[in-house]
């Protein structure tokens, strides 16, 4: 395993609302589209299309939106909020490009 094979702490160790869903330390994906949208966001950040911090802010705000005043019963799941933030950010970035 070389450097490239290591997950980035700034991504893997996100705290609070942005904390990645996990079980026994491992990431939990329910469906393939979750896996895919995760990989797209990480890959775009790796390429420098946006900073991870920028994505994280977007993610937190879309999770908060979904939670409203009932954090235990959000209107959509973690990766749906993830997807929404990714779409929002992409729209901004690609409009500029």
């Amino acid at each position: 395993m070389n450097e490239e094979r290591i997950a980035k702490p700034e991504i893997a160790e996100m705290n609070g609302a942005a904390t990645l869903p996990r079980k026994n330390g491992e990431m939990v994906f329910h469906d393939d589209w979750e896996r895919k949208s995760f990989a797209i966001a990480v890959s775009l950040a790796n390429q420098g299309l946006f900073d991870w911090a920028e994505f994280q802010r977007e993610l937190i705000s879309s999770i908060k939106d979904a939670e409203g005043d009932n954090p235990l019963h959000p209107s959509r799941g973690y990766f749906e909020s993830w997807l929404v933030s990714l779409e929002n950010l992409l729209e901004k970035k690609l409009a500029k490009a």
Binding site: D31, K36, E80
Partner: protein, 211 residues
């Protein structure tokens, strides 16, 4: 969303979507992916590789493999306690950024627990993502003062004459607990042994039980 009885409420652990919703989401993501591939902003290769890294290299399985090897191979075990960083690298697990790994062995006389009292230093490459409780102030402050009480909260009780050692991780040193091999596992293969080693036992808050 349904209600859950996890100790830490997490509404995200189960998928509450039906097939139609999943299908719509799948199409949404596929469309995005196609656009990005077309623009050359992502590559299929990079996406596959990233998924593999985050999904497979982040779990505690690497640590479990180290433990299982130590249980069956006395020479490896010896090297592990002499220089854990290099012994662990023998199994192909590296990526430690300058930190030294130290392996500590649980025995009938000594029980080791790991904490990071200052922040959340954690042996990433072998244990994956740190659990939320590991980072909590409650665990970090309490385990040093009342380790037996913390152990009891994890359902682990030790005889009074067992010595408890608490190891404080730092940016330089990361600890891995090698739990005791449970009785009744003499006939298990290395991979069968690795499968029974759970993350918490390598932090030292639980013991490994036979399957």
């Amino acid at each position: 969303m349904t209600t859950h009885n996890h100790d830490t409420p997490n509404p995200y652990h189960e998928s509450a979507r039906d097939d139609a919703e999943n299908k719509a989401l799948t199409e949404r993501v596929n469309k995005m992916e196609a656009l990005l591939l077309e623009k050359g902003l992502v590559s299929q290769d990079a996406l596959d590789k990233l998924t593999d890294i985050y999904e497979n290299d982040l779990g505690p399985m690497n640590g479990a493999n180290v433990v299982a090897r130590a249980w069956i191979d006395p020479d490896f075990k010896k090297r592990l306690f002499e220089n854990a960083t290099s012994a662990i690298a023998e199994l192909g697990y590296g990526g430690l950024q300058g930190e030294h790994m130290v392996a500590v062995e649980n025995t009938p006389e000594i029980h080791n627990i790991v904490v990071c009292t200052l922040c959340s230093c954690y042996p990433w490459p072998v244990l994956g993502l740190p659990p939320a409780w590991y980072k909590s102030f409650a665990y970090r402050s309490k385990v040093v003062i009342e380790p037996r009480k913390v152990l009891a909260e994890f359902g682990t009780t030790l005889a009074d004459d067992v010595e408890v050692r608490v190891w404080d991780s730092s940016a330089e040193i990361r600890y891995l607990v090698i739990p005791e091999r449970p009785e009744g596992t003499e006939n298990l293969s290395e991979s069968e042994l690795a499968a029974i080693v759970e993350r918490d036992s390598m932090i030292g808050v639980t013991k490994v039980s036979a399957p």
